[in-house]
Homo-oligomer: 435 residues x 2
């Protein structure tokens, strides 16, 4: 940093990049007051110079090749907003560290997949590598875990981390749309991309979860150990029944640490879940994100806010920039990257919790007793049972909420149920989370 | 700081002090991993050395006089947990700054009343003055405003900032207790002090609000400009009617900034409020606290967590300590204290919002038309009207929810209403907040 200037170069001029430029332009006074530093954009780069971005960029030096931008004298910070876990994003960040340049990014895929190697390089070169914008948009969950909760032992982190999925599930719940109608609505409203599979299959949530997991438990981010289910199979019926039972359906990312025979093991899971209408996630609607942390001293805390979009994400980019301007140092993952451990992951089969299950049966005497027997034989007690006549057939819809049970036993009961001749639909289940 | 040590002295060994000591003892490894520093308690002080605190303190050097503790060689940080806006707390913090010692405190009254002078002194001596624990216990609202939202223009901050009041209101709502029964319950449960007037009259909330206001708007904390109402006059009837209307009652602290004729003016208000059952505060029950911020880029965000108690407050104390250990510097109030301004405060009469109003009337023809006329003459439109026969008399309870109106006009309508001979109880109103 030369004197009172923090010189930045921005690569990637999508929604977030443009919001970041406007925010830096509009709020330079605020930043100067708080840091004594002026943030100067000394270079910008994107694929297509000619594209109409609705914003005059003439005052900024343009680079067709972002790698060349890194050779700018006095460049302090590279802001990488290209996205993608490989290719140009990875290349320029690596190069920036070689040139002793700090890096701020919103790229969750890249941080999840190559974060450790990059953090090591940043630490080695004594530069900063910050990525608040990579998880939950404008919600400061990374800073909160890394700094505010940092004297705590963190036990678990549970989040609604994907705005697209939350928007779709909200539409299905509130406007009785089918999954494909809601997905279409999300595309039209700009909440879903043309190919939304990364979001709806839970991969994006898994990327973010692995980052939170690493920050919380000192583990190396690892995608391969994450159990992932998406939201494609949720039906309107599920919303009708869960509403009646006092629940909402949310796609959650859940990570936690447990002691098993003296060893620390973690779990990392992404799946649609039932959460109580009276719980902390009850008002997290539309494209909002929210994260609940459970920790030794601060207890249960909730952060809730805008999880995506240009302005909220730019707000997180700027908060990282301001930390750099102030000279505030943190290890990218909270502790020295060399000390991050590979922690054994607990299998989903070991999950202990309750379950919602829905299936169709033929309407004949003895069916209910037989269902009861299946659960009984597997030592599963039922908390709630709904039985509804299915209007389109002569069948009955059965919905059961179980008490807590280890997943391996629940699946066994489910298999037993499938074998019954009166069960005429594949039983569908959703896990219930207490949050 | 000598090498790898951060040496601290703790004054005040109440719940928070003892939790802080235990947390530093238990989590020294975590802190060392994150900061490369070891936190050493090199001195403790409290009024009564002999008191049984359920914790062995023999390994720490004891000082009957905390001022003497400050003369310890190598003392880096004074942790002030005595409380009180004057007396020994103010004296030792002043003295600590003279001796170039950092200060961490949980003392909201002191920060609200003398924060500016102390911040000036800290800045002059190039030491840090941190008080995350002073507002909302374990919720990192100060760090979030000061650092995460710091590139934003903040428009308003609304909080449930007092655990005692929230506990009492939750009891009244959920267990149909009267105010005095709920207060008694709060005392027995350890949530209210013997003399709870500071809490229930809204003073404690006002202290905290003034700190948040200063951090958000760069204004000097000023208690005298805060409009304050407590919760003593809330009746069980209000809970019954507001529940039917889809609201809860919470004591809120609300501060915001508005442009009026090119000047920035702020409002700072504390009063019991109606908030929607579907809103962000809907699940903030018992002694929890929560804060909503509205800002230019991050939009509307919520932080919700444990607002009081030893462990959550100690968690905030430790997060300040860790910032100091890392060498992370921030102005106590976000910007240089010399640049904090005295902003003109907007009168409560200028509040624009909706109102809940409840009163008793004699049951006779024409009453309703006459009420309608009063509101009509004052250009107030009504959103909701409830009319219930009062079981204990031959009177009727009338409850009205208005559309938005400036408070000065609402009060005029209220005065008109009082003059009517059929109105037999003093009309009681509660403001409605959209949060």
């Amino acid at each position: 940093m030369d004197g009172n200037n923090l010189n930045v170069g921005i690569v990637g001029l999508g929604t977030v990049g443009l919001s970041a430029i406007k925010m830096i332009e509009d709020n330079s006074n605020i930043v100067y007051q708080k840091t004594g530093k002026k943030i100067n954009i000394i270079g910008i780069s994107a694929r297509d110079r000619k594209k109409d971005r609705g914003l005059s960029l003439d005052q900024y030096q343009w680079f067709d090749n972002p790698v060349e931008m890194l050779n700018l004298k006095h460049l302090d910070v590279l802001i990488e907003l290209v996205g993608g876990s490989e290719g140009i994003a990875l290349e320029i960040i690596n190069k920036a560290f070689q040139l002793n340049c700090h890096v701020v990014t919103a790229n969750k895929a890249l941080v999840a997949e190559s974060g450790i190697q990059l953090a090591k390089k940043a630490e080695l070169n004594d530069v900063l590598f910050y990525f608040e914008a990579a998880v939950a948009g404008g919600i400061p969950i990374i800073k909160t875990i890394r700094e505010s909760l940092c004297g705590n032992s963190i036990y678990s982190v549970t989040g609604i981390l994907n705005g697209t999925c939350n928007y779709i599930l909200s539409r299905m719940a509130n406007s009785s749309m089918s999954f494909s109608e809601a997905l279409n609505d999300a595309k039209l409203s700009g909440y879903a991309e043309d190919d939304p599979s990364f979001d709806i299959k839970g991969i994006d949530t898994a990327h973010k979860l692995s980052i939170l997991s690493s920050l919380s438990f000192g583990s190396k981010p690892s995608l391969k150990d994450i159990y992932i289910e998406g939201i494609e199979d949720i039906a309107i019926d599920d919303f009708i029944f869960t509403k009646e039972l006092g629940y909402q359906i949310k796609l959650l990312g859940i990570t936690g640490i447990v002691q098993e025979k003296g060893n620390n093991k973690i779990f990392q899971r992404v799946y649609p879940s039932l959460v109580s209408n009276k719980g902390l996630f009850s008002s997290v609607d539309e494209a909002r994100n929210a994260v609940v942390t459970d920790s030794s001293h601060a207890g249960r805390s909730l952060l809730d806010g805008l999880g995506a979009g240009g302005d909220p994400t730019a707000s997180s980019v700027l908060s990282d920039l301001i930390d750099i301007a102030k000279g505030n140092k943190n290890y990218p993952f909270g502790i020295q990257s060399e000390k991050l451990k590979t922690l054994e992951c607990i299998d989903i089969k070991q999950r202990k919790g309750s379950y919602y299950i829905r299936f169709k049966v033929i309407d004949r005497p003895g069916v209910f007793a037989s269902i009861g027997q299946v659960f009984n034989e597997n030592s599963i007690s039922m908390e709630n049972i709904l039985q509804k006549h299915d209007e389109e057939s002569d069948k009955k819809n059965i919905v059961i909420v179980t008490h807590k049970i280890e997943e391996v036993f629940f699946i066994k009961a489910l298999d037993n149920l499938k074998e019954k001749d009166f069960v005429v639909s594949n039983p569908k289940f959703i896990r219930i989370e207490e949050v």
